[in-house]
């Protein structure tokens, strides 16, 4: 019995030229985990919103066709009427929180449904236990880590005891360990509680093994729904295992490292290891000695020595709270720290903000913080003025980055990838020799990540020293030649990317796991190693 059924559903927003979703039909049986995939802007969020009626009741737009959820038509039932059937968790859980403590937040939905206080009390306890967050019950939501917030957000919708759970990119902002926690919790809900889960996700490598079906939004409004292996083999969304399948000509994508490894062994695939690349160490663009950052009693960065050579891309990996961001901010000179920092014979900390950004520039985690003007053109002009560059420098850089943005666009309407490119262009207008990127792949799809990889590689080829702090091991493996691993404020490993990543089980990319002990990192490596 299908618990969700879409019958020739189309969605058109008021100011859009073409429908976001067009003639989509599929049915989901009860208890399935369905993965919704597609590039940014193909309508994943629209599709998820249509399940509980947020589209079109809340977002506006016109919906054609029929969406039946647990036998109820969303045309007649507003999202709030479906609250006890569909639990919906938006992209940033913190933004969706109404109250400020864990317990209150979990009770909030039930209060709205008018559930009796005694029953409510019991359900709150059950939900806390189910999501393993009982010890957090009185904590303020803002003080929780990203993974905890996400679990509270899921618990908060679960308390209403829905039959369907809709999750919009629940792990995009999390580090690998926290993401694993959240995904494990979702797995429990599917397998032990029997919930139907619809999940949109960018980084498929972590979730595709658990999926019962995959819905791929092609980008023209149409969709393909079917078993994961078959859909992934056709889709343009290429997690590493799908890329591998394509490279070696497998018709169906193996959904887990284990399956891929078995199949590779059965076929006797053994790629040659990538030739150990040597990372140039000269000429030095940035050199730091004994950098130490303290927040009160807390030592965030504890005596880090780091040299970045011109023309190299270095990844900085580590858990949340390992001190990666603090190190980047310290290297830019924007965060007070002890130790010595030198770029072109100068210390960015001793210079004014305007001079410092000509030596080292940083794109922070929330790149949008840097934007405050109403149009792309105004931002570019302002960037030129800030960096004493020729007028048009930033705009030219933007074009050079391969991103074509009309100057009158409002930066807040851009996609994550476009926004990142704009901020990069603004920051690079000062022509600094060192570029620091803090979590740039957040919210980017595979195509945007590939684009970013190309941009970063081009910049390095022009002699820029690039340091990227990231959680995305696959991106680090494909982009950087050198990797620095941090833990607890200290550098615990520093070497070529191949060396560092293949030697650590937690940070090994999927290809390294499939072909271990052969040292390969990316599907490209495998293709090269096999030919």
């Amino acid at each position: 019995m299908a618990v969700i059924s879409f019958d020739r559903v189309g969605v058109t927003y008021a100011d859009a030229e073409r429908p976001t979703l067009d003639d989509i039909s599929f049915e989901l049986p009860e208890g399935d985990l369905c993965l919704v995939i597609g590039a940014t802007g193909t309508g994943k969020s629209t599709l998820l919103g249509a399940i509980n009626g947020l589209v079109p009741h809340f977002t506006g737009g016109t919906l054609t066709g029929r969406v039946l959820v647990d036998g109820r038509d969303t045309a007649q039932n507003r999202p709030r009427d479906l609250a006890d059937v569909v639990g919906y968790v938006g992209q940033d859980p913190l933004r969706g929180f109404v109250t400020d403590t864990v317990e209150d937040e979990i009770a909030y939905g039930m209060e709205q449904l008018g559930i009796a206080p005694t029953a409510m009390r019991k359900r709150v306890e059950e939900t806390l236990d189910l999501m393993g967050i009982a010890d957090l019950r009185r904590r303020p939501l803002t003080e929780l880590s990203g993974g905890q917030q996400q679990r509270v957000a899921i618990a908060a919708v679960l308390a209403a005891q829905p039959r369907i759970l809709v999750l919009d990119e629940p792990t995009s902002a999390l580090d690998p360990t926290a993401a694993q926690d959240v995904l494990a919790a979702i797995g429990t809900l599917v397998h032990d509680v029997g919930l139907t889960v619809v999940l949109a996700e960018h980084r498929l490598e972590r979730v595709m093994q658990a999926a019962d079906s995959v819905l791929w939004l092609r980008g023209d409004g149409s969709a393909l729904h079917g078993p994961p292996g078959a859909v992934l083999a056709q889709s343009t969304i290429t997690p590493p295992l799908a890329a591998l399948a394509r490279e070696v000509g497998w018709a169906e994508v193996p959904l887990s490292v284990r399956l891929a490894r078995r199949r590779a062994q059965a076929q006797g695939l053994r790629p040659a290891a990538v030739s150990p690349a040597t990372v140039p160490t000269e000429p030095v663009a940035l050199s730091a000695r004994g950098v130490e950052v303290r927040y009160g009693d807390l030592v965030a960065v504890n005596g880090v020595d780091l040299e970045l050579a011109e023309g190299t891309v270095t990844s900085l990996l580590g858990r949340n709270g390992a001190g990666k961001s603090s190190l980047l901010w310290a290297l830019q000179g924007a965060l007070s720290c002890s130790g010595a920092i030198e770029v072109r014979g100068q210390d960015p900390r001793r210079l004014g903000a305007a001079e410092a950004r000509r030596l080292v520039t940083l794109v922070p985690q929330t790149a949008v913080d840097l934007l405050y003007l109403p149009s792309v053109g105004a931002e570019c002009a302002q960037a030129d003025a800030e960096s004493d560059a020729e007028p048009g420098t930033a705009a030219a850089l933007l074009a050079e980055l391969g991103v074509d943005l009309p100057p009158e666009r409002d930066p807040r309407d851009l996609s994550e990838g476009q926004r990142l490119a704009l901020v990069l262009a603004i920051q690079l207008a000062a022509r600094p020799p060192v570029l620091l990127l803090d979590e740039p792949t957040r919210g980017l799809d595979y195509r945007a990540k590939a684009e970013l990889r190309r941009i970063v590689t081009d910049l390095a080829a022009r002699g820029e020293a690039v340091l990227i702090s990231t959680h995305d091991v696959e991106f680090a493996a494909a982009t950087s030649t050198r990797t620095v691993l941090m833990a607890d404020g200290e550098v615990i490993a520093d070497g070529t990317t191949t060396e560092v990543l293949t030697s650590s089980p937690a940070y090994a990319p999927q290809m390294a796991k499939v072909f271990a002990p052969v040292e390969v990192l990316t599907p490209d490596d495998v293709a090269r190693g096999l030919s």
Partner: protein, 274 residues
Amino acid sequence: MTGSRARVPLAVAVALVIGTVAFGWPLFLRPESGMQPEQAPIVFALVLPMVLAVVLSEVAGGRMDARQLAMLGVLAAVGTILRPLSAGTAGFELVFFVLILAGRVFGAGFGFALGAITLFTSALITSGVGPWLPYQMLAAGFVGLFAGLLPRAGGRAEVWLLAGYGAVSAFAYGWVMDFAFWPFGVGNDTGISFDATLGPLENLHRFVLYNIATSMGWNLGRAITNAVLIALAGPALLRLLRRSARRADFAPAAASVASADPDAPDAPAAAVAS
């Protein structure tokens, strides 16, 4: 729906009359009533919460949808952190300019609710709850309310209109608050104190002197802050708020799918009380 639509303006109008009486008590307090001047604002502080409750339950209750309430809460949060940020610096008061611009964009009813709720939240967080709070809520509510009732204007004219209103409302806010709490600021029998035995006119004269002596700097500072901030940040902020108001609009087409919905908001925020 016309009958129920008139409810909000009616409630606001009654609040306006009651507010005038409450703020203007020094004009009619008679010595023979046996009431001390310091007790008068306290007595009103017991009545005003009820008036505020009535108006807020009309403006917000059952009419505002989740989007408007979320906007109300978030803008109140903005005001709440602006208030302690600006306290302590004579007259440098940042709350009002957000209030005025939001009232202008989202309408009079929203403006009233925002003013009242901002001051209430701020008092809760900073432990500033007291007899003055209902007065502050009402006065700030009126600042937002009248911002929503200003005449139409566009472009630079609108910014000048709002900046001018910002300056005027800053003085008005300061005056009515000082008037209502006159005996609190200065004793009872100095030459600039309220004296029930004198007539309203003589008391007004005394109040003007009192106000010049004690609060001119505050009010002037507040007026200048308002006007300057609105003139500088007004255009950008108006654009930002209007953009969100537009994005939060229901597309008319949605109605074709969202069939009969008994308590759908009958109009977007801008129509709440205008």
